[in-house]
């Protein structure tokens, strides 16, 4: 057991500050002195540790001292064989674990409700996605976890597949049966990758859903900056005991900056220490806040703040009770509409709204009075804006029809067509609906009438559609043909 009260990176930065080294290296702002306005804005203490790699501070690309120690402490805290500090967001952690596991032509099994970073990784490496349709909850209009039966069937149908990726938990807090999925995958020689972006706190709370590392998964991408409290863009990539960590480092170094920010790195170190020492208490507090808000929101009526009652032993194997996900369909309003009303009319910014749901992110930083404001504002939205809900879209899941690999389609000869003329064509670009950032179309997929209608509907409801070259998504790039 290592001394988890230590924070080697923090200590090294403090030593450096104390030693008053004369900087004749980058960054050129020289501890902020060369950019007084930036220093005024961000603070002198902050700028004084925005420094470059140097011997006393180690090097992220090739850690041998304080970064190595900090990563080892993190690995122990998360029950991993190895932990990588990442400075390109969880996107880079997700992509690195995919690039480290599959190559051009390899099959990778994944649920459709993956983050766009996953499919971007497939464009980079040329692997072929095999989608498992996530089970959906028709009433809530959300994708659930992976069903074990679906995993078994898909693995049997694709004996050559090299890896499986699991989203656990989903944005909405839904967990799959990670242990069974991992065991099945391992029996068939698949590498198990877990996008655990929303599950940092699972490693530290009491009575939490199973973590990727505890389930025996091979790699997991963990967004420390979400529930872990570190700075935006900092993240962790965890590896299990059967992964060649040196190869993973080489993969990370293909795309990661050689000037890793010490602001981000130290925030990972400090947050890991904080979670190890006080995590249980912090997460219990978040759970209490979320449960209180759930009860009060459900008492308003027309809203459904869901929780463990969704658990069904399979596609909802467990539920993360720190998540405050609320279905708004009974109210006659799309989640995105409630999301906009909360911000524009009540000055409350929540995490996201999709067609039927909103998610308010609850954390240790919340105060009672703000939770009361959120509940009060939802009550007001019901009083003032409630309407007949007969026109609401029931479910937003559309089964993708993969015609070619994302890489082949993305780099192919293409033509641009108006959206309404795209039916039957093969899309060569992404269409993402934000929130929640799950692909509507990925390169290589057939464009159907249902998809065109969905895009039009999402636009009408105020979702942000991103990805295509035509930024207003009135046109799509499609495969030109042989």
């Amino acid at each position: 057991m290592k001394d988890q009260t230590r924070a080697p990176l923090l200590e090294a930065l403090e030593r450096m500050r104390h030693d008053r080294l004369v900087p004749f290296d980058v960054p050129g702002h020289k501890r902020g002195k060369g950019n007084p306005q930036l220093t005024e804005f961000l603070g002198e203490r902050c700028l004084s540790v925005d420094v470059n790699s140097m011997k006393p501070l180690d090097n992220l690309c090739h850690p041998v001292s304080v970064i190595k120690e900090a990563e080892e402490l993190a690995a122990e805290a998360f029950g991993a064989a190895h932990a990588f500090f990442m400075v390109g967001g969880t996107t880079s952690a997700v992509q690195s674990m995919i690039l480290a596991s599959v190559k051009a032509g390899d099959e990778i099994i994944l649920p459709r409700n993956v983050h766009q970073s996953v499919i971007n990784a497939l464009v980079l490496c040329g692997a072929i996605p095999v989608y498992i349709n996530p089970q959906t909850d028709k009433r809530l209009g959300i994708a659930l976890g992976m069903s074990v039966t679906d995993v078994k069937e898909t693995v049997a149908k694709h004996p050559a597949a090299k890896a499986i990726l699991v989203n656990n938990p989903t944005y909405y807090g839904i967990c799959s049966d990670l242990k069974s999925i991992t065991d099945i995958a391992h029996e068939h020689g698949l590498v198990v990758l877990v996008d655990e972006a929303h599950g940092t706190h699972f490693y530290f709370g009491r009575e939490m859903p199973l973590t990727a590392m505890a389930a025996g998964a091979d790699m997991a991408a963990v967004s420390m900056h979400k529930s872990g409290g570190s700075l935006t863009q900092s993240s962790l990539l965890l590896c299990g005991p059967h992964v060649n960590a040196h190869y993973v480092r080489q993969i990370i170094n293909l795309t990661q900056t050689t000037s890793g920010s010490y602001l981000l790195l130290s925030s990972l170190d400090i947050s890991r220490r904080n979670l190890t020492l006080d995590g249980v208490e912090i997460i219990e507090k978040v759970k209490r806040f979320a449960q209180y808000a759930r009860d009060e929101i459900n008492a308003i009526g027309d809203y459904y703040a869901y929780s463990r009652e969704l658990i069904n032993g399979d596609s909802v194997f467990d539920f993360d009770t720190t998540k405050l996900s609320v279905n708004t369909l009974e109210l006659g309003l799309a989640g995105i509409e409630v999301y906009d009303l909360l911000r524009d009319e009540y000055g409350i910014q929540i995490e996201f709204g999709d067609l039927g749901n909103i998610l308010a992110y609850v954390s240790v930083g919340d105060k009672n009075k703000n939770v009361e404001r959120l509940i009060g504002a939802l009550g007001e939205i019901q009083r003032v804006y409630k309407r007949d809900n007969k026109d609401m879209l029931e479910s937003e899941y559309i089964t993708p029809i993969v015609m070619m690999s994302p890489q082949r389609a993305f780099y192919a000869e293409k033509i641009s067509l108006p959206l309404e003329e795209c039916e039957g064509k093969i899309c060569t670009e992404f269409v993402m609906c934000y929130p929640p950032g799950i692909p509507v179309l990925a390169p290589g997929e057939k464009i159907t009438t249902a998809i065109i209608e969905y895009i039009q509907y999402a636009k009408e409801k105020g979702c942000m559609l991103t990805g295509p070259e035509a930024m207003d998504v009135r046109r799509l790039n499609v495969w030109k043909g042989e």
Partner: protein
């Protein structure tokens, strides 16, 4: 000789000071720092987080003006909700009406009531009335689940920075709207138009009230110990107009003894200076 002064910054460049003879109390509750001082000029006074709440000498102005205008417009008010007001002054004024049947007082900070009972019997006496029920909780939370229950809601809050912040939000005003009966009136402490920061809060409060209530008016009083001395109150209602519906005759037959409020002043209080009127007009 001691030269002890209480000072409050009304702006970063303007300071208001009272010579203090003695500090009687200081504590930090779960929500704020509560202090009580004694002075020759203003008698005892209460501050929260260093900001003046009331003095023995001039509290009558604030409390009469927050309580009586609504009663003179609708003498049939039976059920009242007061939010904030841990010192008891607003309750004291409203308990003067035998026709009021029930008063709920919702104060978030139990310690403010306790300190007031100990040091300000002159205002805290209001809590002794049998019709008054005290609730120690968040005002927004209390009002949230209430529907068509009150004829009058008085929001006697601290400034919008600090624990009173929630009581200046649109969601709070909306929840109050729902809690009011069809002739319901909401009176709120509405900040001051004079100094820039206070004026900003004042305008925001007016904008949000006007978005929620069909009738939203503002009236004024002169309160020597509040920033600039020129203080505003909001009169928001579902149907009653503060001037057109004033029941001066009926109110005067009650024969209540006042030191500041009278029905002539009621009419004058709604006549606002031009610069204040312009600020308010900009917001709706």
């Amino acid at each position: 000789m001691d030269d002890l002064w209480y000072s409050e910054y009304h702006t970063p460049r303007v300071r208001f000071s009272i010579k203090v003879t003695k500090q009687l109390h200081q504590e930090t509750s779960d929500y704020q720092t509560i202090s009580v001082f004694d002075s020759e000029e203003f008698g005892r006074f209460l501050t929260l987080d260093g900001i003046m709440m009331l003095t023995e000498r001039d509290e009558f102005i604030y409390h009469e003006m927050i309580a009586h205008p609504a009663m003179a417009v609708n003498p049939n008010i039976r059920k009242v909700l007061i939010i904030g007001a841990g010192d008891g002054g607003t309750v004291r004024e409203l308990t003067k009406y035998p026709t009021i049947e029930h008063i709920d007082v919702v104060e978030i900070d139990q310690r403010v009531v306790a300190v007031s009972k100990e040091f300000f019997p002159q205002t805290a006496c209001g809590f002794e009335d049998a019709r008054v029920q005290l609730h120690f909780q968040d005002g927004l939370k209390f009002v949230r689940r209430t529907e068509l229950a009150y004829d009058l809601i008085v929001v006697d809050s601290t400034d919008p920075l600090g624990p009173g912040e929630v009581l200046f939000t649109k969601e709070f005003y909306g929840n109050c709207f729902r809690a009011l009966t069809e002739n319901g009136i909401l009176i709120n402490q509405h900040e001051s138009p004079f100094y820039q920061e206070d004026a900003k809060a004042m305008r925001a409060a007016h904008r949000r009230l006007a978005q929620v209530f069909p009738i939203s008016r503002v009236y004024q009083a002169h309160i020597p110990t509040y920033p600039s001395g020129h203080w505003l109150f909001g009169f928001a209602s579902k149907s009653l107009e503060p001037l057109a519906d004033l029941n001066a005759m009926e109110w005067n037959t009650l024969g209540l003894k006042m030191r500041y409020y009278n029905t002539d002043l009621h009419r004058g209080a709604f006549a606002l200076p031009t610069y204040v009127r312009e600020m308010l007009d900009d917001e709706v």
